[in-house]
């Protein structure tokens, strides 16, 4: 099975403190550390487990620049057969639809049975997977937390729905799935593995390679634009208790009792 995983390099939420910069219009990016978007990593692991069972290749693709190559290398160290960078000045500032347009062009240059994306990125809109599927006219399922290969033509996928329940669907190949965290336990990628792929060549494709009309992507074509980042004025928010711990405990107890929490 030929599997394509669309991945993104994002600031790692657990290893960064996300704060506004001094100008107040963006987050402070100076000391950010980046890594692959967590759900995308789960997607690559899932792809590797599928190909281990049924054979095939796993390709990881990202739209970005040179800095983004590091996530491709990491996923190759994990076991992905190929990493591909899609990069072009014309792509800068693309919105979700622009990214999906670019990816669609790449998909159509190859022959993939299954396309996986992570369900969402911390600074994303949970959109690229669904958009890509619609552009390709492939069936789609979001929030997938289980995949079973039925045969070369169909999969049985589970979707995460309310109440912790799982919605089981049968879906035809080729299809696009957006993968939820927790679908598997991704294997560890050690520093040694990453070093081993440090000089593997990563093919880069630009707008002309893919046949993408620059007018359809990039900043100018974007219909949705982030204007700035801000931290909203706290507004009402919570009434903060500022006493000693003992005083706070007493107050909490009082409130719990008052609100009917003590039978």
């Amino acid at each position: 099975m030929e599997i394509l995983v669309c991945a993104r390099r994002v600031p790692d939420t657990s290893e960064n403190e996300i704060e506004l910069n001094s100008a107040g219009n963006d987050i402070e990016r100076d000391e950010l550390v980046y890594s692959i978007n967590e759900p995308d990593n789960y997607a690559v692991e899932e792809a590797l487990q599928i190909t281990a069972k049924v054979g095939g290749q796993v390709t990881v693709v990202t739209v970005g620049g040179e800095d983004d190559e590091e996530i491709l290398r990491r996923e190759m160290a994990m076991g992905a057969n190929q990493g591909v960078l899609i990069s072009d000045d014309a792509f800068q500032g693309s919105d979700g639809k622009g990214i999906a347009t670019i990816l669609k062009a790449f998909v159509q240059k190859g022959k993939y049975d299954l396309i996986l994306t992570g369900v969402q990125a911390d600074d994303g809109g949970a959109q690229v997977g669904g958009m890509l599927a619609a552009m390709l006219d492939y069936p789609f399922a979001a929030l997938v937390n289980s995949i079973e290969v039925l045969d070369g033509k169909k999969l049985k996928v589970g979707r995460e729905i309310a109440g912790g329940n799982r919605e089981m669907n049968e879906i035809d190949l080729p299809c696009v799935l957006s993968i939820q965290t927790g679908i598997n336990e991704p294997r560890y990628v050690g520093m040694r593995g990453i070093r081993a792929v440090a000089s593997v060549p990563i093919p880069t494709h630009g707008a002309s390679d893919l046949g993408v009309d620059p007018g359809a992507v990039g900043k100018a074509a974007a219909r949705v634009k982030r204007v700035d980042y801000f931290v909203p004025a706290l507004g009402k928010g919570a009434e903060m208790l500022r006493g000693s711990r003992e005083e706070n405990v007493d107050k909490v107890l009082e409130l719990v009792a008052a609100k009917g929490g003590l039978k």
Binding site: V33, E185, P186, Y188, V189, M191, R195
Partner: protein, 708 residues
Amino acid sequence: MLEGIHSDARLTSWLVQGRALFLFLHVLGVACFAYIVSRRLVPLIRAERDPRFDRPLARLGKVFKFWLGQWKHPRYKTAGTVHILIFAGFILLAMRAFTVLIVGVSPNFVTPGLSGEAGHLYEVATDYAATVVFLCMVFAIVRRAVFKPARYEVPAKFGKAHKADAIFLLSLIAILMVADSLFEAARAAAQAQPGHVAFAAALSLPWLLKVSLVSLPLPTLGALCFAGYLVHEIAFYFLLCYRPFGIQFHVETSLFNVYFSKLERGKLKPVKWGVSDDHLDRVKSFGVKTFEDFTWKHMLDFYSCADCGRCSDNCPANAVGRPLSPRFISIKARDYAFQHYPMFGRSKNGTPLIGSIYSDDEIWSCTTCGACEEECPLLVEYIDKIVDLRRGLVDEGLVPQSLQKPLKALNSRGNPYGKMEKKKADWTNAKDFQQICPVKTLDKKNGADTLYFVDSITSFDDRMQSIGRATATILDHVGENFGILGTVEKDSGHDVRRFGEETLFMALRDHNTDVIKASGVTRIVTADPHAYNALKHDYKDVPPVEHISQVIAREVKSGKIEFRPVEDGTAVYTYHDPCYLGRHNQVYDDPRDVLDAIPGLKRVEMTRSRDRSFCCGGGGLMLFYEPKEEQRIGVKRVQMAAEAGANVIVTACPFCMVNIEDAIKVAGFEGKITAIDLTELVDQQIARESTVVTKEAAEIPQESVAGR
């Protein structure tokens, strides 16, 4: 006795009829043994290299102390005494057995050097030796069959018990002793007749038999003598050839195992001997994944394990029901070797060990405390094997999710918590502290003689930062010109290495080595025993390192540190030896000397202390791992402190502090037992001229439990 044989024509005539048979048995026995040993050597020849041929004199010294001297055995009084007796008996009887065997074929044989008076003394000694060994065998059999010590039990999850095998072998040795004695007794009984005086050491087994046989007619005695001889020879060769199939192989291998044992404590095996760090990228596979990835010495360890259970008995992971029992690391591997390298037929190699004989939880459960290695009388090594197995797991990507997060953070931020580098030295900025004891960060403008290496937990953990401040205060008090590396200091990598991520460890080590060298310091002090162990053994080319307890002890002796008396009369203190300060580096006395120098401090010793200290549960990455256990290791330790009558546990390691403070809460001892770090206690008790006391000192010990 032996010299009398050749002068006894009767004995010669009794034995001569069996000469051909005896000779045949010799040849058969020796040939079988040689074949068996050669088959046992096959995996060792194919194994990884392990350079253990250096420093022969030092190695012989170890043989003398641990093999001949049975140095570790008395740690278990009963079993130890019995074994020493058996061992001494075997050594003494070795020569006799050898001679007896030859006599059947060459009746005139006399052991060189054992004629005359020496021979007579030898005879006495061996008569008693045989008796003692026989009694020890009976004792050992009864112990296993009737009393069944818990330590010998094999829980089902670890495999099958080899008890029947053990009793069988013990019985065979007993039979060997009896046969030998019978042979001797029959001859002596024969000689004791008409007028002869025949010798057997009084009340020995041969003597007892002689006395009971003496009235028998000569032909019967002849037959008994022959029978005794034959049984002896058969038993001897049977044992010789059977030993390599079980734990008794240690009789042959123990000498070599001790000779080739590790000379340098604390140094971990490199990924591959003979491959330097720069060439490691050429190595295809890291760590031990299949049996053949072990070195020959590791395999020899598996052969030599006597299944005594002392290691598992002292293992903290085993004590709380984790899947690890060190003894079975050896026995399962040994059984694997026996099965895959059979006596006849081809060897079957290359099966992954994890998932077949070992489980990954078993391997991750180890805290690397070293209690197992400390106990083992045969000097079997465990830590290198666990680390090698972990290297294999890491290489395959099979790392538990709980460990992946801190490893990732160590990679991106240089500490397992994912905290930003720029906050590394924030602990020095605590309000009141900064004014009393400003700590300088070493850089181009600010140099110092001494580096205080703080490491990650003390830098970032709210509770442990107080250890950092106390240490800095103490160094300041004794007039040490010191500084910290600050934001350029990365985690020492000590536990990264012991959890098998060798490449990440090397990156951390190389980075730290560069910044340490650039700082120009001539010595290093740390309050973190893991950092201490890393800087001492894992790092090369860095200045010498000391633990803060050693510095304090020295300054107490020199008089620079004087203590105020303890105020709380009800406090009873006990010192918990951190594994990486105590057992691994043998710093036992300095912290105790410091405590004993505090006037009025009542100190008790836990039963398990010093080299028998019970691990707190493990530090570094072990704090992130989620083990399958029945109880927390730290809880057991706190219970030991309570049993010793202590209500204050003093430790000298931030990881011990985490585990012990946690355990105090979990075990329900909150309010009854507190924990304090040595540096915090010293800081609190230092007699100062001025009345200004640091915030830490004023609020300890109350704050040592709260505020985390």
